[in-house]
């Protein structure tokens, strides 16, 4: 081949390598950026007066005096709306039957949308479900609802052999000549005054319990559950893993048995996570009966088994990286082997072991499949520390799934889902970054 071609191939080869690394970085960004931007919206958004009222009523948070002022202002702005409705209610009664029927269903729409926007309207039976007791809490939703109020979505069915096309028709046209006519323009003009949106940092998203199945409120129960499960798993797996690593590095003889044990370790590392879930169900719950049904304990035990190989491997590596001279110096001073391990090797290896532990903690916090059958519930209150042996818990990972694909209002609460994913990713990535930093410090120390 011509040298020019060879060089070209060489350069393209390098370019392919670079591109693949760039692609991985891009993939990471493509996943993280939308999730973080979406997640931030769960914490920081244009909150309406409805949201502030909700927070005050449910969590007794906020400035009561200021809220009262706001409520008064928004009430004043809403009053004409209610007056329009009342006027139309009476007008409707006086209309001829045909006209009344024609208007009634559109009027229903108007009322429903206004309910969504402003909360229960005068004359409605006070709703019992929290989700219907308030108007829109987030301004971006309000804008969507406003569009729904102002325009009817219509479909052009003129050609039945084709899929119809969508068009919008101003709703006000249906009501020309009635007393409701002015409502639409009024709402369009004064929506901001009715809802008084202002930028809001809703830290409570992290620390509040959820309200009405995550329609409102925060995700504290899930965060707490995630911590319980991950830390519980560590409590079992960490000591076991470190001891096993000591055995493998310091005591195990180079024989068939040891290689069997080692390959058992890598086999365990390769077991699909859902199989751990099956095992947890079949063994811990159905056979050992560590709890009657799902519980934090059963989930932690299952997760512990899953992360054990990672911990063993990390601890082994950390112990092996302790310089031989340390060992020899200690043994040379007349210390026993066990004493050498406990006083010299383990302290020297500890940062490395902890790094492995942190990464495993992150993995345990993020896993879903093993806890589906063993620990996770979709809706539950925060549980006390004493209940971990018997009670299941909601957890971030499971509830992300549940809210995104099983919740009855999955589409309406995307911001909660984004917030949860961001919370979970933050926990896991913070753990990992701290592990990376810790490792960088260790390698610097080893370099001297």
């Amino acid at each position: 081949m011509n040298i020019g071609t060879r060089k070209l191939l060489d350069r393209s080869f390098t370019a392919v390598g670079f591109t693949s690394i760039m692609l991985m970085a891009l993939a990471l960004l493509a996943v993280l950026v939308p999730i973080i931007t979406g997640g931030i919206k769960a914490l920081y958004f244009q909150g309406t007066v409805e949201h502030r009222t909700l927070l005050f009523n449910e969590f007794q948070r906020g400035d009561e005096a200021k809220l009262a002022v706001d409520a008064e202002r928004s009430e004043a702005a809403r009053k004409p709306v209610y007056e329009y409705l009342a006027a139309f209610d009476t007008e409707l009664e006086s209309l001829p039957f045909e006209r009344k029927r024609a208007l009634e269903s559109e009027y229903h729409h108007v009322r429903d949308t206004l309910h969504e926007l402003l909360g229960p309207l005068p004359g409605d039976t006070p709703p019992l479900l929290l989700r219907f007791q308030y108007g829109v809490t987030r301004w971006e939703k309000a804008e969507e609802e406003l569009h729904n109020l102002l325009y009817m979505t219509k479909w052009d069915y003129s050609d039945p052999t084709k899929m119809a096309t969508q068009y919008f028709a101003p709703r006000v046209d249906e009501f020309t000549g009635t007393s409701l006519e002015g409502l639409f323009g009024y709402v369009e003009e004064h929506l901001e005054e009715m809802l008084l949106p202002q930028p809001e940092f809703y830290w409570g998203f992290i620390t509040d319990r959820s309200l009405d199945a995550h329609i409102f409120g925060g995700v504290w129960a899930e965060i707490q559950g995630t911590f319980y499960l991950a830390i519980g798993a560590m409590l079992f797996a960490f000591p076991l893993g470190v001891i096993a690593a000591i055995y493998f590095t310091e005591y195990a003889k180079d024989n068939y048995l040891t290689s069997m044990l080692r390959s058992a370790n890598s086999t365990l590392a390769g077991v699909p996570s859902i199989v751990f879930g099956l095992f947890g169900l079949a063994f811990f719950i159905n056979t050992m009966k560590v709890s009657e049904s799902k519980s934090v304990l059963a989930g932690s035990l299952t997760l512990a088994i899953m992360i054990l190989p990672t911990i063993i491997r990390a601890a082994e590596e950390a112990i092996l990286s302790v310089p031989k001279t340390y060992r020899e110096a200690s043994l040379g001073l007349g210390a026993t082997k066990w004493r050498t391990i406990m006083t010299v090797i383990l302290p020297a290896a500890l940062p490395g072991i902890i790094t492995g532990g942190i990464i495993s903690l992150g993995r345990a916090a993020g896993e879903t499949a093993p806890i589906i059958f063993t620990a996770a519930v979709s809706v539950g209150a925060t549980i006390g520390i004493a209940d971990v042996f018997t009670e299941p818990t909601p957890a971030l990972s499971w509830n992300i799934y549940n809210l995104a694909s099983e919740h009855e209002a999955a589409n309406e609460i995307r911001h909660v889902q984004y917030g949860m994913v961001m919370a979970l990713i933050s926990i896991v990535l913070l753990l990992n970054i701290s592990a990376i930093l810790l490792r960088a410090r260790i390698s610097q120390k080893l370099k001297g």
Binding site: F13, I21, A244, S397, Y401, V428, I433
Partner: protein, 379 residues
């Protein structure tokens, strides 16, 4: 010196020490063998609940039928389509992740200077650390609508971006290869130019035609095998990259220098010397990566569409499919656990299948790594 020396202890004391030591070591051994016990237990308990299924229904239906109606009375438990779905997304993710992963591993081990490598590594670690459910959420909420609404355009651009540079290369290389036999240099150059022109026309035609065909595709559902394969490849990549990088590093500097000294370019050195020498390690990396994709639950459960069919045609990645893991996760809640029906046990049979897959592939990857070590040490 009278009687006792400083380091000779009485027989009894020595024996006590020995016993203490033995007990201590056996305790350590017990803890270390815990892992092996767990592996046996997992196998036993999954198999214990899987065997009743085969006793109830036999093997034939499970492996050969595509009728998956577990909730019927009586149910049908043909898992072929589901096994096929698992295989399909695993293959799809491997097709994406293996070339990318190996290229990235080569780049990390042989191309990037150390200071850049320091930044590339955490990227890979973070890609590995992101929880599977977050990937699933991404696939379902962000990626699936994109695919569904702009699928054809996305496919077309992907084709152009990937195939464009490769076709340019192919044109150059083919032109070179076809004219290599011509001894006269001036004549050869002229001939090559001609050939390059000819191949360019072909390549442009191909580029345009395939791009157009792809652009015309209407993806009916964003939750399909393609979506899942792409996301799974993100998840398999870190494993493939880090394990293959280790394998490439293990090849050592001497071989590389030997090849460079003969006048090989970096690409030639890597492709002809380093990659073959590291091939076993890379194979192990691929197996581990594939296992990661096969065993993944949340992404496929959320974003595969979960229809238990063999796509039509069989390689149609734009169809929805269903996998073993998603079936276990999705069906366990409603299965009649108390009564131990076939519907309950069939899920364990699927778990057993996955488990056997993972055992076998783990065994193979271990063997393969041992083999590489042997080859490199010259036995």
């Amino acid at each position: 010196m009278g009687g006792s020396s400083a380091f000779v202890v009485s027989a009894k004391k020595r024996r006590m020490q020995q016993i203490m030591k033995m007990t201590g070591e056996s305790l350590l051994f017990l803890v270390a063998s815990f892992v092996a016990v767990v592996v046996l237990f997992i196998f036993y308990f999954v198999a214990r609940d899987a065997i009743p299924f085969f006793q109830l229904r036999g093997f034939a239906e499970f492996f050969t039928s595509t009728n998956w109606y577990p909730a019927d009375e009586p149910g049908e438990f043909g898992a072929l389509a589901i096994i096929y779905g698992s295989g399909m997304v695993t293959l799809g993710s491997a097709l994406i992740a293996v070339p990318l992963g190996i290229a990235a591993a080569i780049c990390l081990s042989d191309v990037l200077p150390f200071n850049i490598r320091q930044y590339a590594k955490p990227v890979i670690e973070m890609l590995a650390a992101i929880p599977s459910v977050a990937y699933g959420f991404f696939a379902l909420v962000i990626f699936a609508p994109l695919l569904q609404n702009f699928g054809g355009t996305i496919l077309m651009w992907t084709w152009w971006v990937i195939a464009g540079p490769f076709l340019v290369l192919a044109v150059v290389v083919l032109g070179d290869m076809v004219t290599a036999g011509e001894p006269d240099e001036a004549k050869r150059d002229r001939k090559r130019l001609l050939m390059n022109g000819f191949f360019s026309v072909l390549a442009l035609g191909l580029l345009y035609w395939v791009g157009n065909t792809l652009n015309a595709i209407q993806i009916m559902s964003g939750t399909n095998a393609l979506n899942v394969s792409i996301i799974l490849s993100f998840m398999a990549l870190p494993t493939i990259v880090s394990v293959s990088e280790d394998a490439l590093q293990a090849v050592g500097r001497e071989l590389r220098e030997g090849s460079y000294a003969l006048g090989a370019t970096r690409a030639e050195t890597l492709v002809q010397t380093v990659l073959p020498a590291a091939s076993s390690g890379i194979l192990a990396a691929v197996i581990l990566g594939i296992m990661r994709a096969l065993g993944e639950t949340m992404v496929v459960w959320m974003a595969s569409g979960n229809s238990s069919q063999i796509p039509d045609p069989w390689f149609n990645y734009l169809d929805s499919i269903r996998t073993l893991t998603a079936t276990i996760a999705g069906d366990m809640g409603e299965a009649d656990q108390v009564t131990g029906s076939a519907r309950y046990h069939v899920l364990f049979a699927m778990g057993l299948l996955l488990l056997i897959f993972s055992f076998v592939s783990n065994f193979i990857s271990e063997r393969v790594v041992v083999r590489q070590r042997k080859i490199l040490s010259g036995q």
